[in-house]
Subunit: 676 residues, 3 copies
Amino acid sequence: MRPTPPDRLHHGVAWYPELWPAELIDRDLAEMRRLGLTVVRIAEFAWSTLEPAEGAIDCTFFRHVMDHAQAAGLRVVLCTPTATPPVWLTHGHPERLHVNAEGAVMGHGARQHVCYEEEAVRRHCFRIVTAMARELGRHPALEAWQIDNEFKCHVAEDFNPATVVRWHAWLEARYGSIERLNAAWGTAIWSQHYQRFDQVPAPGRTPFAHNPSLLTAYRLCNRELVAEFMDAQSALIRAHSAAPITHNFNLSFALNFERMSRDLDFVSWDDYPAAADWHRIVLHGDLFRAAKPGRPFWLMETSCAHNGWLDEHAVTHPPGFLRAEAVAAYALGAGAFNYWLWRQQRTGCELPHSGLLQSWGTPGIGHAEVAAVEAARRELEPLFTTSTPAPAEVAVTWSDRGRAMLQTEPLRGGRGRALDYTAIITEWHRRLVELGYHRDLRFEGAAPDGLKLLITPAMPAVDADFLARVRPWIEAGGTWIVAPLTGTRTPEHTAPTDAGLGALDALAGVESVFGFPFTDTGALGGAFGLTTALTGWGLALRPAAGTKCLGHIHGGPADGLAFLTERALGRGHIVLLTVQPEGEAASALLDRLIRHCADRAGIGPVLPARPGTLVVPRRTREGEPLIVALDFTGRGGGVTLPAGLTDALTAQPAPAGELTLAPYAHRVFRGRAGQS
Amino acid sequence: MRPTPPDRLHHGVAWYPELWPAELIDRDLAEMRRLGLTVVRIAEFAWSTLEPAEGAIDCTFFRHVMDHAQAAGLRVVLCTPTATPPVWLTHGHPERLHVNAEGAVMGHGARQHVCYEEEAVRRHCFRIVTAMARELGRHPALEAWQIDNEFKCHVAEDFNPATVVRWHAWLEARYGSIERLNAAWGTAIWSQHYQRFDQVPAPGRTPFAHNPSLLTAYRLCNRELVAEFMDAQSALIRAHSAAPITHNFNLSFALNFERMSRDLDFVSWDDYPAAADWHRIVLHGDLFRAAKPGRPFWLMETSCAHNGWLDEHAVTHPPGFLRAEAVAAYALGAGAFNYWLWRQQRTGCELPHSGLLQSWGTPGIGHAEVAAVEAARRELEPLFTTSTPAPAEVAVTWSDRGRAMLQTEPLRGGRGRALDYTAIITEWHRRLVELGYHRDLRFEGAAPDGLKLLITPAMPAVDADFLARVRPWIEAGGTWIVAPLTGTRTPEHTAPTDAGLGALDALAGVESVFGFPFTDTGALGGAFGLTTALTGWGLALRPAAGTKCLGHIHGGPADGLAFLTERALGRGHIVLLTVQPEGEAASALLDRLIRHCADRAGIGPVLPARPGTLVVPRRTREGEPLIVALDFTGRGGGVTLPAGLTDALTAQPAPAGELTLAPYAHRVFRGRAGQS
Amino acid sequence: MRPTPPDRLHHGVAWYPELWPAELIDRDLAEMRRLGLTVVRIAEFAWSTLEPAEGAIDCTFFRHVMDHAQAAGLRVVLCTPTATPPVWLTHGHPERLHVNAEGAVMGHGARQHVCYEEEAVRRHCFRIVTAMARELGRHPALEAWQIDNEFKCHVAEDFNPATVVRWHAWLEARYGSIERLNAAWGTAIWSQHYQRFDQVPAPGRTPFAHNPSLLTAYRLCNRELVAEFMDAQSALIRAHSAAPITHNFNLSFALNFERMSRDLDFVSWDDYPAAADWHRIVLHGDLFRAAKPGRPFWLMETSCAHNGWLDEHAVTHPPGFLRAEAVAAYALGAGAFNYWLWRQQRTGCELPHSGLLQSWGTPGIGHAEVAAVEAARRELEPLFTTSTPAPAEVAVTWSDRGRAMLQTEPLRGGRGRALDYTAIITEWHRRLVELGYHRDLRFEGAAPDGLKLLITPAMPAVDADFLARVRPWIEAGGTWIVAPLTGTRTPEHTAPTDAGLGALDALAGVESVFGFPFTDTGALGGAFGLTTALTGWGLALRPAAGTKCLGHIHGGPADGLAFLTERALGRGHIVLLTVQPEGEAASALLDRLIRHCADRAGIGPVLPARPGTLVVPRRTREGEPLIVALDFTGRGGGVTLPAGLTDALTAQPAPAGELTLAPYAHRVFRGRAGQS
């Protein structure tokens, strides 16, 4: 598909005119315009304003707000308010509320406290959404819709009986007969055997752990249900409105991002990184760019200065960081960079969160930073609306099922550490960033087309569909690195019975000899002339003829076997890394492994850069390269320029050689360099 | 008001004659007399002895006990036993039980397990109290009543439906109409909006935090309800008895101490400090002396050697500490120094708590220490029954509402630390003790009369009434130090919308420019030639003309603004300290700030003293000064005496110069020195 | 009683043929035979296989399995499957489920989730057990029965109303009248007083701790109930089957091991020690050998390589450890050494646990280790089926009531550490192992016959029956060391009222002067020329005339009194150690104390051995000594041999002097040496 640049670079803010005196509306809009903002997001928590008593729906206030926004020249993202049902919907109705895994029933007063599978909740949600779509869906100020707000914020799987009913239906649809479920999950174990679907429990309190097949299935089911609820809202809106529809994801929530993205027109994400966590901006950009390939995403919420709520404060941003965050987001494919929130809350539990204005109306500590963002945005808009991020040749797989399976089975990496899927992906992604490669995340369900190198860590179940996409791609020249914990389980969250890694044993030309936890066994791994400790659950391999051993195990109970192998397959390669290296030399070993594969594939860094300098290659619609370089350390950065580049902002030639970047500063170049 | 010394210095003990064979009563009383004890406290857990079956109330046993106490010459504090309802009151009646915030229903077997708002509980409580008052309220041995025992010991806010009904009534009485509540709390946020008072939830389980306005209101309401329950008991007693009424507070419980003290005749407190925590004795003395100004308080419970229950032991006191604790308590205004308990429990969960006697009847490890206390008491009684603690010129504000608000919003002080109201007050109070100033705590609702310097930390809401008392006092010459986190919220626990510190901005002659968390922003504070880190939520100020900047912010996002200002107001001064200094130089900076204000106001230490030597000034009825000096370190202490003092115990002249105190020893002097 | 060696040394494995295709049964059995295994354990979780729908009991499958085992020459341990009731027993029946102390109701999906006191559960359990006994109880392959599996695995006391009804009956049977209960528990305290047995609560949620008398009684009652349920199953089986009956204990579960063992034919235990925790093998061997004195016990479950479940891995065994574990178990009295499990699970929550085979059918990482065990077993079988462990002369008391009381009252040992009964016993036992003494554990209810030295730590209640057994044994020459926390409570979990240690004061010739927590008081203990800190709750003693003070207290509030005394009693001695030594010299002091007593009693090490070398003396049926020596460090060990020994495996003379053991290697000698 051909990538589409955004029409413009939006710069916006979440706005709650319903919480302040009406006379502030125009003053706020004027001040937003002065700052250069282009878009406001409204109404995501405003159900009680729209429908103060059951059935008394009235969209007048928000039509008024949108009229004035239109008059002021601001676009509007209109949200459905289903994250915060009014008190009349839940008071006296415990059966409508979210129930957590311990059986605790949530109450009114915060958000995400209802069960969307409950019939009355569902009916009321759909009624307010329909009314908003009908009343406001053709408003000229309407830029886009946002469904609900941060689904599963603060909550995970739901245990309301209404959800359990859906669970039974979901199981029946998936397995057809109870005996197929029993066989798939092996329920003869511990006499778990079910006679009917309605006996299958939601995984609540038990003396010990549930069957992982059930645990993972319950996660997948819940994530499907919330996606269906979102899609149902979208369908209602589309009957009345042509505006595109999005949802603002948060990477830490219990969702299936790939599935959720399917029916959205574009994706958005929220993140509140402190300056030290700038890598998260890159990770989110690379992941959500991949959710709707070729289309801009939005950064829907970030803080202009600091996050905060009743019992925690984040660190206030250092001057300059916000602009760097915005430039990185736009460079990586964002069509909008939006703050939460316009004016510091007067009431509620987020009083200490920074606003562009303070509760008493004066500019907050981040206000000047926003102005700096706006200056950069204006400067970059001509470049970024005529170009898109360059396609990447290397990617890390993102598997929502893999994430669910690691939540079910957080196999310790040794010394008490539970494994976290996102942390594992982050580590591989960060390694690519630090090596200077332009990269993507690639969803499990997406084809590896266009890539030269794909790294797949922590995806326990490698299913036949995935292999059917990856195998021909390898044979056509791709290199697939199968990283630790990938292939160790079936899609039903059971252990493979054909081989240690199921079909991968044969594909990668190995025999999985022993699977066991390597931590503290004394086993060392040697590869590329480096030796490291090995840790966590791993497999000791015996390479078949024609398969190279790249890494040997020394010591411990599997002494002499391999933990790192490589096999040529057609014009490509499959590399197995079956145990996690750990300790001092581990990082170097993993870097060497990636370079080994990348070099052979002809992948190199975009530009030589100092650590903490982000380099993003883009392509103009005409196919010419642009390179964005950006210091994210706050101490200044630098890149080494080849000859022949031009500064895209000044149109001056950029001299070859080392270029220094001031703290948090960015530069954009035209011309070809390295992999760009 | 003119202060009243106690008629005598009581020395007493909690006694449970109902738990031991009747023949021990006289033996116990005789042994108490031998030790010199003057008072016993009885019956606070004895409801099942008084009313073994529903309605079968019989006070004979305790009349017998009081008769024998009277015969033995001991006075009696008689308690209402409402902390421990008998099993017949709650068995089969879950609706009568305390429910905590997670919805867990407490059961019979410990104490404080009922809901005092429940109709049957209330009726039974009032019946037993009335019966006791009628039967025993005129007994000649009766010294005082204690209502219940340590209200809210082990429990906090109650979520029993009966309490929720009272909550709704409390809200209606406070706000009049639901729309006034909605406006005050800003419930349009997150669609919290209420249509009727009965919809307002008690703040139970929600996916995320409740509205702080609601959280704080629920705390205030619960604390009012328990005060009303206590007052109702007092009213029933007063119909039959002229003995004064008290309650034994514990500073860590969920109570409003100022409100609770209102209707009591005198206040009492319980504390079990280990020797290392001796400062707590001073804090409690200074706080509860202020609860009923001019009247003696009682230390109702402390351990003679060590605290303990089923799964914890406190550290056993070192020899000598107990006497120091008693002398300090008496010197600070105690009319009684009482132990918990006479004889180590034979049964129940407090088996390992030290008694004066052991469970097998012999003297316990603290018995000899009690004898030393008694010797000191006899020596000091003539002095302390003719004098009272000198009025203080410097005080720290104690705000029960401020405490509730910090419980709602424990804004982190950085690096994961939650702020604790009592800890903040303790830190300021300890600083005054260490600087050698004689000081008070001053309740929020009390006038600052008599003070020269008032320090108010962590009182988020400064209401109009408070300002109406403080402003004229400043204009008349007082100095008010507004310390961090004071003034940052309204009384409804919302953010101010007029200025960063509400009315304080104008009063203190500043503009609150930016409010944000300073932690880890690199901001430093410079004042009095010292530079420190700044931490926690704070405000960066711009002083108006006529306002002095005493402390500048260096670095970070608010570089160049002020964090410490001073403005003359009439003959006095208002000092704003809007960010918390932290780290090495912080303590010195705060000491310098206090000295800066104290010196100008003419306040100085009572006597130069070594660290850990407590100096307490008193005044005789004739207005002559007494000075008590006491080593609290256990390693010996010392003071520097001016010329002209007399040893009040020996009537010998006390030579000027350095006087050494033996470990835990005390001395009392007559004559004027420093601020005494 | 005369000890009986096992007929053979079994080597076996837990096997789940119901979880795998039927065609694997014969293949599995053949492979087991090839490995040398002799026994399989089956059916402990197979209720749903036996009775897939209510009432449809069919034992055909397991008869088939047993027929094939018989044909293959393997013996069978058949288990009752009551740990895992099928879904039809609990679906829609919350009243049948286990309820924990917080009131949480367990659900289907794991194990141990039902309440065995509930009528329907009980009826169904007894029906399936009866059916199995009738159908399979005379099968020729049947070696033994195992009742249920690891009772109280994952759960502790049950709070299901059906259990509470049994609790009331248990109380009535124990106390006869409610007033005797009230008197025994001292329920006048905190108005706990009960009018009827049915008012006595199970100790659920209360604001503070329950009465310890009630807490301990509830533990004892629950442990009695589970023993009665087990015995009831045994009785049903015995009506149809002559095979011996066992249960597999786990030392960490909420059981009364002495009571449970009473009605079993032999005892079994499960333990999964990592190599570093080898001492646990010795502790379990010594304890469970004592449960059925003179009879072999079984190690029913251990891992061949590593333990694991969904969110934890144990460390994989180093090569050689497994054989050492097996040799130690056999040497200490095991008649069987069995693995959990044959083939790594394909499904369920124990996927990562090591099997002899992997889920894909190939040998696992522990398979070769099992072969090494088998080689050792064959070699040792002739020796160990004609000999038994030598009787020990020194023992540590195991008190199940003491354990329950420490669970009720985990009196801190200082610095926040809760005391754990098993940890205390382990420490004393490990000390004896390290000193090289051959030792036993001795259950509280067993006579001390045959011992020369008995050490009793942490047994708060020393009842009259115990004293009636121990006193004459002392008088006949025994030495009893009463270690800290023994004697400090009555059997009703109250404090003694006659003397600090009740009857022990007089017996040991001391006065318990002060009881208090010694931690951080500065008190030191001096004995045997060594000085150590003293910690935890202790008693300061005054020795009566004729009682020696072996250890004085220096400093702290009990300066000058004793913490270690010795009194001659008849031909024996009673030694009181009433405070726990702690810190550097503590270990040496305790070693000196034990040697002091052991030397006088003529007890010495079996053989001088290096640390980590285990030496086990045995006796042949003819009374000749055998000595097993074994390295447990994995780094090699050694013993010093006297002249005159023969290597029992090679029949060659063993030269006197230092003998080195290879890592994890063992040797067996004939001939007399030291205490063997």
